[in-house]
């Protein structure tokens, strides 16, 4: 193992190179890549690497990048791509295709505001556009977590009980372009952690059609099987986390990341790097004797309903912080989280940091103050920080 100064873009690429090399004795690695700010550095690093057995195809669009990845995985190779914002939007059709064909691959998204107006800064709306696509989704908080989650994602995706693609999210610029000291594992450890990809429906010489017509009943069955695979994720993920700890000597956080939640009356729920700032404010509130906690939603799909219910059971005031907006509704995670909160809790939705505005401790403090004095909730509020 070695400590390196890596941006989260390079952390994702480093993990992918290690994972790709780990499949060198099987069908190798292959992917389609296309640049878009702020993930470009990630695919540039992949293009600089010469794989023992692999190929990085420089394609003409995100739509084709995802299609090339699908071809590689269906032929038994390990695969990866990265995108963001409008690139993800352009890719959507094939993003669904990959999930519905049960193609286990990993994608990194450097979450960026969907344009127009054109904006390159962080907003989770791009990944949340893929909410119903059938991908497993993680949102990371630092560069080590990006590297580790990428490695973990391959093991989870390729498990025969799962066979689903995984999206590993990182906040644009806040992580993608910020260097952090990152522990990079040796290839031998990654080889031990990631068995060769063994795709049960790999295309060989057998005359089968992958993706032909389905009548309604066959579709019902295929959707149910996909949903059941999602249902198995929490247990398989826990096994993967145990194996990760055994091999790499550190443990990844689970689907939700509670902080000072043991006796919390008030909880602020957030995703990505917003949680770092929330924890800072939680500490300040605790110094004042107020029982405030933070809960970071790390795994967005499958949605961790039971752990959320358990963590929030004693909370009476809950703030849901969305760095995204579903126009005409409110924050995207808010209605989902509403389904997991205690019946008599006061829940207020705040959309904060839209378009990448810097969320400072005083902005979070404002939310905490608002939430303490509130007698009832109101419709979702946009908190302007810019």
């Amino acid at each position: 193992m070695s400590m390196e100064l890596l941006s989260a873009n390079h952390a994702a690429a480093t993990a992918t190179i290690l994972a790709g090399e780990a499949n060198r004795d099987a069908r190798g690695f292959g992917c389609g890549v296309y640049p878009i700010t702020p993930q470009t550095e990630c695919i540039e690093k992949l293009c600089r690497h010469e794989f023992t057995k692999g190929e990085v195809v420089r394609v003409e669009s995100e739509h084709s990048a995802m299609a090339v990845c699908m071809g590689f995985v269906l032929s038994g190779a390990r695969s990866f791509t990265a995108s963001a914002s409008n690139g993800l939007a352009y890719m959507v059709e094939n993003v669904y295709n990959v999930a519905l064909y049960r193609v286990p691959m990993v994608m990194m998204a450097a979450n960026r505001t969907l344009g127009p107006p054109w904006n390159i800064w962080v907003d989770h709306g791009d990944a949340l556009l893929l909410r119903d696509s059938g991908w497993i989704q993680f949102f990371c908080e630092d560069n080590q977590e990006v590297l580790d989650t990428t490695l973990l994602a391959y093991r989870l995706a390729e498990d025969h009980r799962i066979l689903l693609p995984v999206l590993v999210n990182q906040d644009a610029f806040v992580l993608s372009h910020t260097m952090m000291q990152t522990d990079v594992p040796d290839q031998a450890l990654v080889d031990a952690f990631l068995p060769d990809l063994d795709l049960p429906h790999r295309i060989t010489d057998v005359p089968v059609t992958i993706g032909g017509l389905d009548f309604p009943h066959e579709t019902e069955v295929h959707r149910r099987q996909h949903a059941e695979a999602m249902d198995r994720v929490p247990d398989v993920l826990a096994e993967c986390e145990d194996a990760f700890e055994d091999i790499f000597g550190r443990r990844l956080p689970g689907p939700i990341v509670p902080y000072r939640m043991e006796d919390a009356e008030m909880c602020l729920i957030s995703m990505g790097t917003t949680a770092s700032t929330v924890r800072e404010v939680v500490d300040r509130e605790r110094e004042k004797g107020r029982r405030v906690g933070s809960l970071r939603l790390r795994m967005f799909r499958p949605f961790p309903i039971a752990p959320m219910q358990q963590a929030l059971a004693q909370c009476t005031r809950i703030g849901v912080l969305d760095r995204n907006i579903s126009l005409g509704l409110g924050g995207i995670t808010w209605p989902e989280i509403m389904a997991t909160v205690p019946r008599d809790a006061l829940v207020q939705n705040y959309m904060i940091g839209l378009g990448g505005g810097d969320i400072r401790p005083q902005d979070i403090q404002g939310i905490v103050d608002d939430l303490w004095k509130r007698e009832q909730s109101e419709s979702p509020k946009i908190v302007e920080v810019g």
Binding site: K53, V57, E60, H63, S64, G71, L74, N97, T209, G212
Partner: protein, 300 residues
């Protein structure tokens, strides 16, 4: 000793695949030119191992519903625009693993001339090891017959009820302009030439493009039994030039047409999609002559 395929490859021999490429149970209409093309390809393949990528089109519907497959080879159904990209993944994976598999895209004109054009162009520019075959029925047949950029001037479709007012794209010239190793048009009415080109393309590496004019009796409103005759009319009239282009520069004319006006008239009159008020054969003839002037200027 290698056995020569009997009757120019048109009869089943020991060398043929025991399982045809297009099997019984497929859902193609009677007289479908795409079916004829697949049967020619089946003969040309002999014992070669292939993987096919077929985008959303009649070519994938014909495979039938899950779990059946009317294809005698593995097929991946891609999204409409993605055939050449999915095939890129399969072909690169085959190459890095030393698999002898040939990867073939089988796509209609909608997936080639229109929605798949950017993907196709990029795969050609990268010179991926793919044989891309376009069966061109000059229409969105699978959705009931709408115009594509392959629909010819004057043809009535459900979205051009008064006849199309533009000429079709010159797809062969577009593909040749990518300087790919091999681009060729082939006629279902001239099977020896067609099979020779399929064989040649199958044995080459890099990006190869074959164009097949494929009669669609449903969309062309023509007699199913007359499809091959219509293709011969198209070839002889000069409407559908049969040539091959190597590396984008070496043009070879394979069939010298008679440029017969009788063939041209027959081609238009035998198809219900053409109505006299929507086309002028003198204008069509002028377009044909201009096209041939260009082709002949490129043949050395």
């Amino acid at each position: 000793m290698t056995l020569e395929p009997a009757l120019g490859g048109m009869a089943q021999t020991d060398q043929d695949r025991c399982d045809p490429l297009l099997r019984a149970g497929n859902t193609n209409c009677g007289g479908c030119g795409m079916s004829v093309g697949l049967n020619l390809l089946s003969h040309a393949l002999e014992t070669r191992k292939i993987q096919m990528v077929i985008p959303a089109c009649c070519g994938i519907v014909t495979a039938g519903p899950y779990p059946w497959s009317a294809y005698g080879a593995p097929v991946v159904a891609s999204t409409f625009a993605s055939a050449a990209a999915v095939a890129t993944g399969l072909a690169c994976a085959a190459r890095i693993n030393g698999d002898p598999t040939r990867v073939i895209c089988w796509a209609g004109d909608g997936g080639t001339y229109d929605i798949g054009m950017a993907t196709l162009s990029a795969a050609a520019e990268r010179n991926e090891d793919i044989l891309y075959i376009c069966y061109d029925n000059e229409i969105y047949g699978n959705t009931g017959g709408q115009r594509s950029s392959a629909t010819p001037l004057g043809a009535r479709t459900s979205t051009t009820p008064r006849g199309k007012t533009q000429q079709k794209k010159d797809i062969l010239a577009i593909m040749a302009a990518h300087r790919i190793p091999y681009a060729a048009s082939l006629s279902l009415g001239h099977p020896e030439d067609a099979m020779r080109k399929m064989n040649k393309a199958l044995d080459m590496t890099g990006f190869r493009f074959l164009h097949i004019l494929a009669p669609c009796p449903t969309g062309w409103k023509s007699e199913p039994a007359e499809g091959i005759e219509l293709v011969r009319n198209a070839v002889q009239s000069g409407l559908y030039p049969i040539l091959e282009i190597e590396d984008g520069i070496r043009y070879t004319l394979n069939i010298e047409p008679s440029m017969s006006d009788e063939d041209l008239q027959n081609y238009f009159e035998k198809q219900g999609r053409f109505r006299k008020e929507n086309y002028d054969l003198a204008v069509i003839r002028k377009h044909i002559d201009e096209h041939w002037q260009l082709i002949r200027s490129r043949i050395r």
